[in-house]
């Protein structure tokens, strides 16, 4: 199987126009999907890089999100959304209703299973009712029981964090992390993200049996500089790294 490459963008960063152009311009075939983050007032599991992309929430507009999703849909690029549950909760489910009408049918909620475990089951049900699957977000700190429970309750692919949060670069033994994830999660694709520093890391994940990788912090600096070329070049390098690792 061809390894998957997913690119994380925070909606509205560095500005709406850049993001909309970027999803339009990215060459065919080099990525397998976008993960689009809804800006958060408290992106507390993110490191300083990604935190900086959330900036002020008013960068973001529903129209902007709609346009980005439309482009991806037109270009047949798979998309999933990312939103902190704390924001969803604050907005009383407004986003959820909005999302239901869109072409993104998968969603990551990084704090859901950690800080809101007590409402997770109900939330997953209401997502389902809106036609949206939860992409479970796990990492090394997720207990086996928790992984098994939510693998059971969902049907999408799995997002597995290498680092406990983005932007942290603590030493990680990649083969061990992949092995642990695969020993608990069966028959589901596992995409690894958070703290993949370079092509070497990416290749190591694939060699160890990961189904794909997700990249975010790595291109934040290029995006901040509005340097689309540089970002796309970097993405191609990751593509090459994982493809040649198979």
């Amino acid at each position: 199987m061809k390894p998957r490459l997913i690119i994380y963008l925070t909606l509205g960063f560095p500005d709406n126009e850049f993001v909309e152009d970027f999803v339009q311009n990215i060459p065919d075939g080099i990525i397998d999907g976008f993960e689009l983050g809804l800006p958060s007032s408290d992106p507390r599991y993110d490191g300083p890089k990604i935190r900086s992309t959330h900036g002020e929430r008013n960068h973001f507009s529903q129209d902007h999100m709609g346009r980005v999703l439309q482009t991806c849909s037109d270009r047949k690029i798979r998309v999933n959304l990312l939103s902190y549950y704390s924001d969803i909760e604050n907005e009383g489910g407004k986003n959820l209703q909005m999302l239901a009408g869109l072409s993104a049918h998968e969603m990551i909620v990084p704090d859901l299973l950690i800080d809101y475990a007590e409402v997770a089951d109900a939330f997953i049900s209401s997502l389902k009712a809106s036609g949206i699957s939860l992409i479970p977000f796990f990492n090394a700190a997720t207990p086996d029981k928790v992984i098994k429970k939510y693998v059971n309750e969902t049907d999408s692919w799995i997002y597995y964090g290498l680092q406990p949060s983005t932007g942290i670069n603590v030493p990680v033994n990649i083969p061990e992390v992949v092995e642990r994830a695969k020993s608990v999660i069966h028959e589901r694709d596992i995409i690894f993200g958070f703290g993949i520093r370079n092509g070497g890391d990416a290749a190591e994940i694939i060699r160890a049996g990961g189904h794909g990788i997700a990249i975010g912090s790595a291109i934040v600096d290029d995006l901040a500089k509005h340097d689309e070329r540089a970002a796309i070049l970097k993405i191609s390098e990751y593509r090459e790294a994982i493809d040649s690792a198979v």
Binding site: G47, L113, A141, K145, V170, P171
Partner: protein
């Protein structure tokens, strides 16, 4: 140590409870907007330790060299049936205690100091630095550094430095440089002294000085409690206990330990977490973190250099009274332990000074061991438990985290 056959008791792997927790642990939180206090750990902690801190492998192989050091410093420690105590209490069940005071430095702290120092030495570090309050952690660090061929520096809370000359002496014999904190060796120390020249010091200030010093000099900083990796290392207490009970043909019905940062207690009970044993965490009445603290994110250190953790805390700014049990004065408790207390899996109770001193005397007179005042809380809670239902046939297992030979002065104050 000691016997080749004791290798049956000493495990080959540490145990990390995280994969077996009922819920997921909240990650540490960066306290600052633009820099990462978590990333900063890369500069002050040994790489391998940091990897352990965040990898949460259920089984973590104990390096062969550390294994050898564990033997040398007195592992496995004994599990002792406290027959005389049982008799004195008229308790019908059995009381065992795991005796961490049998290590050469006199407490469980050496269990994590050794691997931390080993990892640091392995990375070519020449000197390690830490802080100490009561002195047990500084002692363990000093020896661990010496055994791994490194220098060590200990920032010792000034009141302790003045009150416990023996602690200072033992650290120096092990080769450590001990300075009273606040000191003039760090900016933070100088600032603090400028504000108050006779500042008595706090653990929070000492941590800040140690971290600053490590950052400044490119040395590594060793931590004594609270962190996941520390608790993983301390699991050796519970793993040994499990094998020792197996050899005795007994099961743990009730497990009792004391909690400062939570390392000895967690290391003791976590390997039993999937079983049915009742677990009681004993804290100081004067530092009632579980009974009066808040469960939420708070700083590890007072200066806020280190990340925040989700834990029970009385507030990083909490100023504890200068109690007899220096090791229990910490404002918070390890995240995994906090979660399990929060969920009710582990019970918590507070014990006061007089009850603890009486329990220590009773233990000394029946079992011959002068426990550390910290461990005295565990013993007092166990005595409470046994007295509540003397007819019970439950096996009570106590973790006696250290001996109190260098703390004898506490018997001169308080109750006679």
């Amino acid at each position: 140590m000691y016997q080749s056959r004791e290798k049956e008791i000493l495990p080959e792997y540490w145990y990390n409870v995280v994969p077996d927790l009922p819920e997921q642990l909240s990650p540490p939180k960066d306290s600052k907007k633009d820099t990462s206090s978590i990333d900063m750990l890369n500069r002050i902690l040994p790489k391998k330790l940091l990897e352990q801190e965040f990898s949460f492998k259920r089984r973590e192989k104990i390096p062969e060299e550390v294994m050898e050091l564990y033997h040398q410093i007195g592992r496995p420690t004994p599990l002792v049936r406290a027959i005389n105590l049982e008799k004195k209490l008229g308790y019908s069940g059995k009381i065992y205690f795991k005796y961490e005071g049998a290590t050469v430095t006199g407490s469980h702290k050496i269990n994590t100091a050794l691997p931390q120092a080993f990892y640091a030495a392995n990375e070519g570090v020449q000197e390690v630095v830490t802080e100490t309050g009561a002195g047990q952690w500084g002692t363990a660090t000093a020896l661990a550094a010496s055994l791994n061929g490194m220098r060590s520096k200990v920032f010792m809370v000034r009141t302790s430095f003045n009150q416990k000359p023996l602690r200072k002496q033992i650290m120096e014999i092990y080769g450590a440089k001990v300075v009273p904190s606040p000191s003039i060796e760090t900016e933070f120390g100088r600032k603090t002294l400028a504000e108050r020249a006779d500042h008595p010091g706090t653990l929070g200030i000492a941590i800040s000085e140690a971290v600053e010093y490590a950052l400044d000099k490119g040395f590594k900083y060793l931590l004594g409690s609270v962190m996941n990796s520390v608790i993983t290392h301390q699991s050796i207490i519970g793993l040994e206990t499990a094998r020792q009970l197996e050899i005795e043909g007994e099961e743990a019905d009730v497990m009792i330990g004391c909690v400062g940062g939570g390392s000895n207690f967690s290391g003791f009970v976590f390997p039993f977490i999937s079983g049915k044993a009742e677990m009681i965490a004993s804290t100081a009445e004067e530092v009632p973190k579980f009974t009066h603290g808040k469960f939420g994110y708070d700083y590890i250190d007072t200066a806020g250099l280190l990340p925040q953790l989700k834990m029970f805390s009385l507030g990083a700014g909490f100023v504890p009274p200068g109690i007899y049990a220096g090791g229990l004065r910490y404002h918070g408790a390890a995240p995994a332990l906090s979660m399990l207390v929060h969920s009710g899996r582990i019970k918590a109770e507070d014990v006061g000074e007089n009850e603890v001193l009486a329990a220590m005397r009773l233990f000394a007179g029946t079992q011959g061991i002068i426990p550390a005042p910290e461990s005295g809380h565990a013993i007092a809670s166990a005595i409470r438990y046994a007295k509540r239902d003397p007819q019970s046939r439950k096996n009570i297992i106590i973790n006696v985290s250290g001996h109190g030979l260098l703390d004898l002065s506490i018997f001169s104050r308080g109750e006679k």
